[in-house]
Subunit: 208 residues, 2 copies
DNA sequence: GAGGTGAGAATGAATATTCGCTCTCAGCAT
DNA sequence: ATGCTGAGAGCGAATATTCATTCTCACCTC
């Protein structure tokens, strides 16, 4: 057995198969939920036998873990581009719109699934924590910067505001799944106007 | 066999037992979730054999259905007393505080469980719909009345506002379960101040 | 032909639901 | 009173199904 790096093509194949399994699992989980999805269903979706599948993931739980990790990493990345938007609130609106959009339909469907599961599943909750922390920090920085630019009233406590905005974001993800007929994405501009009113600096006697 | 009404004590016993089973099931569901709870666990919690339990409910699903119906009916009732509060926003804050409070700990724990389940389970979603509709109407009426009283800017579209408030409410219920360490209930007064800013009528040159 | 790869049957645990038996007790005939 | 009877109530073992996981062996590529 050589001590050098193993054959690259072997690793390629492995990660290729893993990706295939994860994609199939995401489909299934989005359709039937974590509990409603059996390994057999994932196998069928991936056109793969259980024997083969278990060569790449040791358990169903590990598949869920891998997916959650990927999804939440992607979600945290959203906030990185907040400061490139013309205004902070426009940026936030875009973030939410992206989360609710059809593009990430599976991600959007998985959102509530993951949250609900994390309430009970300690492992999952711990895996989510650092990502939550990171997005909290990013969002907070964006808000403080917005305060310095005069877009947001600096009197408001930034941590409270971060919490309120996250509550609203998660609430929207949930509602969009639960009541799709209410067409929540269409209301986003109206929501943005209301949020702007909430955050705007008080216009007290600035006139000369 | 007499044609008259059956013995009252018999009906009493039936509904008494049903209540006992439902109480046990709520305990279990709040602790382990719908999927993590087996009929055996409910039986143990209710100190009852499966044979006896199945005499009162035909299936696990029917137990879940009965609980959801009860919980959501109770939840809708909350909004009925909105107009008795000193101000609308105080009233809303109280509603949320009640939902998150330890008093209704089981109800609060069940909230996210029910929402997550309703995303997949069509039966459940349909059972929830009329209650959602009712609370939408109640909340909307309260908001319109708040507009007439000058507490809320009448320029705001009431339906959009109802949606935003419900999104926030559900988001808070979810977050309170998911991140209890953030002590969301302590932030409610701060949230109320922000919401007040959002809804207050614009103070445009009212001075002479 | 040897080692990695995969197919698919087999396994064993968990779980919702059913079944057959017993127990209790009210009503009634003796 | 006493014992009979039948129906509702309860028990818990049995059943049938589902599911995650493992095993065995064939295949394919080097």
């Amino acid at each position: 057995m050589a001590l050098g790096a193993p054959d690259v093509s072997v690793l390629d194949h492995r990660s290729e198969q893993q990706k295939r399994i994860l994609a199939a699992a995401v489909q299934c989980f989005a359709r039937d939920g974590f509990h409603g999805t059996s390994m057999q269903k994932i196998c069928a979706e991936a056109s793969m036998s259980p024997g083969a599948l278990y060569r790449y993931f040791p358990s169903k739980e590990s598949i869920i873990g891998a997916i959650v990790e990927g999804e939440s990493a992607e979600r945290a990345k959203l906030f990185e581009f907040l400061d490139q938007a013309p205004s902070l609130i426009d940026g936030l609106t875009e973030c939410i719109a992206a989360l609710l959009s059809k593009d990430s339909i599976d991600c959007a469907k998985l959102g509530p699934e993951i949250m609900a599961e994390a309430i009970r599943n300690e492992k999952l909750r711990e895996a989510l924590e650092p990502v939550e922390e990171e997005s909290h920090v990013l969002l907070r920085a964006a808000l403080v910067s917005g305060m310095e630019k005069g877009e947001i009233d600096p009197e408001i406590d930034p941590d409270t505001l971060v919490m309120l905005l996250k509550v609203m974001g998660d609430g929207m993800i949930l509602h969009n799944q639960l009541h799709p007929q209410w067409n929540l994405p269409d209301r986003l501009p109206a929501f943005a106007i209301l949020v702007r009113r909430m955050l705007a600096p008080e216009t007290k006697s600035t006139a000369p």
